[in-house]
Amino acid sequence: LAPRNVYTNHWAVRIAGGQEEADKLAAKYGYNNYGQIGSLEDHYHFHHSRVVRRAAFSTRGAHSFIQMDPKVDWVQQQLVKQRVKR
C-alpha cells in the first residue's frame, strides 16, 4: 500500500504586505502566525489550534476560507514527512 499522507494543523502561507498583513489574516481566520519561515520573504507559518493535530485527511472548516482570500497568494497544509537518521 502506498504510504498515507498525515495532515497536520500547520500551514505555510504566502502573503504580500509584510508581518502586519499576515497577522491580520491569521487573526481573521483563527490562525496563530508563528512568523516568517526562515529566510523566505512573504512566507509565513500559520497554526490552527482548533484543527486536529494529525489526520489522515485534510479537514474542512471555517479555516479553509483563507485560501480564497484575495490577499493570500498561496496556501499549503503541512504533511508529516517520514525522515530517518542515517
Binding site: 504510504p3 497536520t8 500547520h10 519561515i37 523566505l40 507559518h45 499549503q76 517520514q82 530517518v84 537518521k85
Partner: protein, 821 residues
C-alpha cells in the same frame, strides 16, 4: 589568523591529551604497529595551521548537547535553534532509550575541543558548532525550510545526516519551501557567497535502495557524501548513485572499526556508524578550507572537492575516467576527501565563472521507445545560458510504469560517459512511475556540453507484474549546469581580486626615497602600456582633431595637436615620443602649471597631484587608494578593507581590527571584542554572557562562572565550590548522584548512580542505599519482590542468548541474571 602563506607540515606535531585520540584511526597513525588510515590528510591540514577558526557549522538533527564537556567551548548559540520547540535552546530531549543522541554524535566529529582531556578531537577543532533541533517532532516542509534558513549570513556550513526512508521503495525529497530555502541559501547565504549544504547519502544499501530517489542528495545545492570502510571496501549500508560527490571513512562490518565521537549525557562513544559519520567529516574538512580561503563560493567548494578527492585504495568495479580526466565511481563519487589538498588548493583558488543553465525538453512521440536522444548545443545562441563546461546534469523524467522498481535509467554524455541515474529496486512496487522526478549526475563534471545526450531506460519485468503491461516515457528534460568558459583558466592579465587571496609581493616603501632618474625613466617607458580610461568620457580627455585650437601663440605646422609649435594649456609627451597639445592631462598624468606640461604620476596612480608615490588621488586597476598616506598599493592597512568598486581602502567597522570586502565583515577584532562569525561583539568577562537581544553583557546565574544565558541551566562552567550536575551547578550532589573530582577537567562533577539507587560510591554497581520499594542485591537495586525466575528453561535460554542485558528479561529472570552474575 594566517601567519604565513608558505607553510609546510610540522614534523614535531604535538600529541593531544584527549583520551580517545589514539582511537581516531581515520586521522592519524601514532603507532607504526597500529593499522590506521591517514589518507584523508587531516593531520597534514592541521600542520599547515588550519583548524576551522572563525568558521561556523551547524548540525541539522535531533539537537545538540551544548554543555557536553567536549563541545561547550566551541558551542555557538547563534548557530543554533530549536525548531521543534520554537526556542533558542537545541538541547536534546532525554529519555531512557537515548534516542536523541544523533546530533551530538555528529557535532563531535566536526568540532570537539582538542586537548581538553575529554573524548576526541574534532576535524575542525577550533570551529564554532551549533545545532538545529528539527527531527524530534513532526518534520514538515515548514520545519525543513526554517531549519535550512537559520541565520544564513552567520552560519557557513549546514550538515545533515538524515533523509527520506531508505527502505528501497520511497521516492521523496524537499518540498517547495525547502527547495526555496536551498535556492535562497546558495544565492544569499554567506553574504552572497552561498551557504554550503553537506548531506549524508542514503543508508539503505541492504534494501537495494538508490540514492537518486532521495531529493536531498540529488540536489545540485547539496554536497552528497558516501562512506567507505577502513579497508576501502563498500560498506553494507552504502547506496550507489551518480549524485555522490565524495567519500570519507566510516564503519563497516563487525570486524571493522567504527568512529569515536561525543555522545549524549556527556559521554564518549566508539559506536558511531553509517553515512551519518561522513557528512559531518566533510563539513569539518570544508571548515578547514574556509579558514584557508573564506571567499570561496558554494560552487567553488564543489569544484575543490572534485579536484582534490582521490580513488586511493577504495575498491569499486566501476572506476572510470571521464572525458575531463576525473576519476569517478557511482560508489564513491570522485573519491576520498583530501583535507590537505583542499586547503592548499583553496589558498590559490580563483572563483569559477558564473553558473549558466541550459535546458532542453524532449516530448515523446506516440511510439516513443524507452530510449531517447537530445542533441545539445549548450545553448550557444543565448550568452546568458551558454554552457560549454558541464558541472551538474539534471534529467527530469515523466514516466508511467506499472512497477517502478523494474526500471534502470542511464544517461550517456556526448563524450561517452555513462551515468547510472537509477538502478533496479527490488522492493519498489509502486505504479506511480516518475512524475517529473529530477535525477542528477556529477559524473560528467568538466566535460563539454555540446553533442548528443542519450537517455536509456531499461525495463526488466519482474515476476510481480504483468509483463505485457509496459511503461511509457512521456517526456524528459535535460538541464545542463556549468560555465561558458573553462572554469580553471586565468581571467586575463589583471588579478581578479574579489575572490583570490593576496599573494604578498615585495613592494617599494611609499615613504622611501625617490628612485634614481634612470629607474624613473624605465618606469616611464613601462607605463606607456597602461590602458586606463584614457579617451573615455572622463573630463580629462582631450578632444580629438584640435586643428591648432590647442596651439599657443607660435602656431602650428600641421592640422593635428602634435603639429603645434607651442601649447595654450599643456604639452603631453616628450621629444623622443613626440609632443602633442592637450587641454587637460589624461589619466596617469598631472597638470604641471609651471612648465605647462603633463607629467607622469607615480606608477600605480591613475590621478595625482605630483610625481611622488604619496601624491596619488586615485589608483589604477588592481591597486587601492590608501587614504592615510595617499598612496596606491595592493593591500590595505590594518583597519581597512579593499573596495573593488571604488578602488579605495575603506575603513572597517570600529570594532574590527581587520575586515574583508565589507566594513562589517570582520576577520579580527580590536581589544575587548571577540569574533562571533563575522561580527565583533564585546568580550564578556567571567560571570557574564553576551545577551543577543539587549546586545550587552549580562550576569550569569550565581552558580555559574561562565554561561550562555541567565538561567541556572545555562552554565558552561560552575562557580567555585559548585559541582556540575547534568546541566546545572549545585553545591552538593542530589540524591542519586555521586561526586568526583575530574583530574583533567578543573571542576567537580556529579554523576548519576545506577537506576533506582539513592546513594552510591561511584560508577557501576556500587549502590549503598536504594529507593523505597527496592532492595539492595549485589550492590544493585531491584524491585521489592523475591528475586525469582519466571521459568527456569526460559531463563536458561535468556542467559545463553545474552539477553540479561535487557531490563525486561532481568525482571523475569532475576535469579539467573542477577544472582549468578
Amino acid at each position: 589568523y594566517i601567519k604565513s602563506d608558505t607553510r609546510s607540515p610540522d614534523p614535531n606535531f604535538v600529541h593531544f591529551n584527549d583520551p580517545k585520540w589514539s582511537n581516531m584511526w581515520y586521522i592519524h597513525c601514532t603507532d607504526k604497529n597500529n593499522r590506521c588510515r591517514s589518507e584523508m590528510n587531516i593531520l597534514a591540514a592541521w600542520q599547515r595551521g588550519y583548524t576551522g577558526k572563525n568558521v561556523v557549522v551547524t548540525i541539522l538533527d535531533d539537537g545538540i548537547e551544548r554543555n557536553h564537556p567536549d563541545l561547550a567551548q566551541n558551542y555557538d548559540q547563534l548557530a543554533s535553534y530549536d525548531v521543534n520547540g520554537n526556542d533558542h535552546d537545541p538541547t536534546p530531549r532525554y529519555d531512557s532509550s537515548n534516542e536523541n543522541k544523533h546530533g551530538t554524535r555528529c557535532a563531535g566529529e566536526v568540532a570537539a575541543v582538542a586537548n581538553n582531556s575529554h573524548c576526541i578531537v574534532g576535524i575542525a577543532y577550533n570551529a564554532r558548532i551549533g545545532g538545529i533541533r528539527m527531527l524530534d517532532g513532526d518534520v514538515t516542509d515548514v520545519v525543513e525550510a526554517k531549519s535550512l534558513g537559520v541565520r544564513p549570513d552567520y552560519i557557513d556550513i549546514y550538515s545533515a545526516s538524515w533523509g527520506p526512508d531508505d527502505d528501497g521503495k520511497t521516492v521523496d525529497g524537499p518540498g517547495p519551501l525547502a527547495k526555496q530555502a536551498f535556492e535562497m541559501g546558495i544565492k544569499k547565504g554567506r553574504k552572497g557567497l552561498g551557504s554550503i549544504f553537506v548531506w549524508a547519502s542514503g543508508n539503505g544499501g541492504r534494501q537495494g535502495d538508490h540514492c537518486s530517489c532521495d531529493g536531498y542528495t540529488n540536489s545540485i545545492y547539496t554536497i552528497s557524501i558516501s562512506s567507505t570502510t577502513e579497508n576501502g571496501n563498500k560498506p553494507w549500508y552504502l547506496e550507489v548513485c551518480s549524485s555522490t560527490l565524495a567519500t570519507t571513512y566510516s564503519s563497516g562490518e563487525f570486524y571493522d572499526r567504527k568512529i569515536v565521537t561525543t555522545d549524549l549525557r556527556q559521554r564518549c562513544t566508539d559506536g558511531h556508524t553509517g553515512t551519518s559519520v561522513s557528512a559531518p567529516m566533510v563539513a569539518g574538512v570544508i571548515a578547514l578550507t574556509l579558514e584557508a580561503n573564506p571567499l570561496v563560493s558554494w560552487r567553488d567548494i564543489q569544484h575543490l572537492l572534485v579536484k582534490t578527492s582521490r580513488p586511493v585504495h577504495l575498491k569499486a568495479n566501476d572506476w572510470k575516467t571521464n572525458a575531463a580526466g576525473h576519476r569517478v565511481s557511482h560508489l564513491y563519487g570522485f573519491g576520498l576527501v583530501d583535507a590537505e589538498g583542499m586547503v592548499v588548493e583553496a589558498k590559490k583558488w580563483r572563483s569559477v565563472p558564473t553558473q549558466h543553465t541550459c535546458t532542453r525538453i524532449r516530448p515523446a512521440s506516440r511510439n516513443q521507445s524507452l530510449n531517447s536522444t537530445i542533441t545539445s548545443t549548450g545553448c550557444t545562441e543565448q550568452a546568458e545560458q551558454h554552457v560549454s563546461y558541464v558541472e551538474h546534469v539534471v534529467v527530469k523524467v515523466l514516466v508511467v510504469h506499472p512497477r517502478r522498481g523494474d526500471l534502470e535509467v542511464s544517461l550517456i554524455s556526448p563524450s561517452g560517459t555513462r551515468s547510472q541515474l537509477l538502478a533496479k529496486r527490488l522492493f519498489d512496487n509502486s505504479n506511480e512511475g516518475f512524475r517529473n522526478w529530477e535525477f542528477m549526475t556529477v559524473q560528467c563534471w568538466g566535460e563539454r556540453a555540446e553533442g548528443q545526450w542519450i537517455l536509456e531506460i531499461i525495463d526488466s519485468p519482474s515476476s510481480l507484474r504483468n509483463p505485457e503491461v509496459l511503461g511509457k516515457l512521456k517526456e524528459w528534460t535535460l538541464v545542463l549546469y556549468g560555465t561558458s568558459g573553462h572554469p580553471y583558466q586565468s581571467h586575463g592579465t589583471q588579478h581578479s581580486r574579489s575572490r583570490m587571496l593576496e599573494i604578498p609581493t615585495p613592494s617599494r616603501d611609499p615613504n622611501g626615497p625617490e628612485p634614481p632618474p634612470e629607474v624613473l625613466k624605465h618606469q616611464e617607458e613601462e607605463e606607456e602600456e597602461y590602458s586606463g580610461r584614457r579617451g573615455s568620457s572622463d573630463n580629462t580627455t582631450q578632444t580629438p582633431s584640435n586643428l591648432c585650437v590647442e596651439c599657443g601663440d607660435q602656431g602650428c605646422d600641421g592640422p593635428d595637436p602634435d603639429h603645434c609649435l607651442n601649447c595654450i594649456h599643456y604639452s603631453l609627451g616628450s621629444l623622443k615620443t613626440g609632443r602633442t597639445c592637450v587641454s587637460h592631462c589624461p589619466l596617469g598624468f598631472y597638470d604641471n602649471l609651471e612648465a605647462r606640461r603633463c607629467r607622469r604620476c607615480h606608477k600605480g596612480c591613475e590621478r595625482c597631484v605630483g610625481r611622488t608615490p604619496t601624491e596619488c588621488r586615485s589608483c589604477r586597476r588592481g591597486l587601492y587608494f590608501n587614504p592615510l598616506n595617499t598612496t596606491c598599493s595592493e593591500t590595505c592597512p590594518a583597519g581597512y578593507f579593499a573596495d573593488d568598486t571604488q578602488r579605495k581602502c575603506l575603513r572597517c567597522h570600529e570594532n574590527c581590527m581587520k575586515c574583508l570586502r565589507d566594513s562589517d565583515r570582520c576577520t579580527a577584532c580590536n581589544d575587548g571584542y571577540s569574533l562571533a562569525g563575522m561580527t565583533c561583539v564585546p568580550e564578556c568577562a567571567n560571570g557574564t554572557f553576551f545577551h543577543l537581544e539587549e546586545m550587552k553583557c549580562s550576569p550569569c546565574h550565581t552558580s555559574c562562572s561562565t554561561c550562555t544565558g541567565p538561567g541556572k541551566e545555562e552554565c558552561i562552567q560552575c562557580a567555585r565550590d559548585h559541582l556540575q550536575q547534568e546541566w546545572r551547578c549545585v553545591q552538593t550532589c542530589a540524591p542519586g548522584y555521586y561526586s568526583t573530582e575530574d583530574a583533567g577537567y578543573h571542576q567537580g562533577m556529579c554523576h548519576k548512580c545506577e537506576e533506582n539507587c539513592l546513594s552510591c560510591d561511584g560508577p557501576g554497581t556500587t549502590c549503598v542505599k536504594c529507593k523505597d520499594s527496592y532492595n539492595l542485591v549485589s550492590r544493585m537495586c531491584i524491585v521489592n519482590a523475591t528475586c525469582n525466575n519466571a521459568d527456569e528453561v526460559f531463563c536458561e535460554m535468556v542467559k545463553s542468548n545474552r539477553l540479561c542485558e535487557k531490563k525486561l528479561f532481568r525482571q523475569f529472570c532475576c535469579r539467573t541474571c542477577l544472582m549468578t552474575g
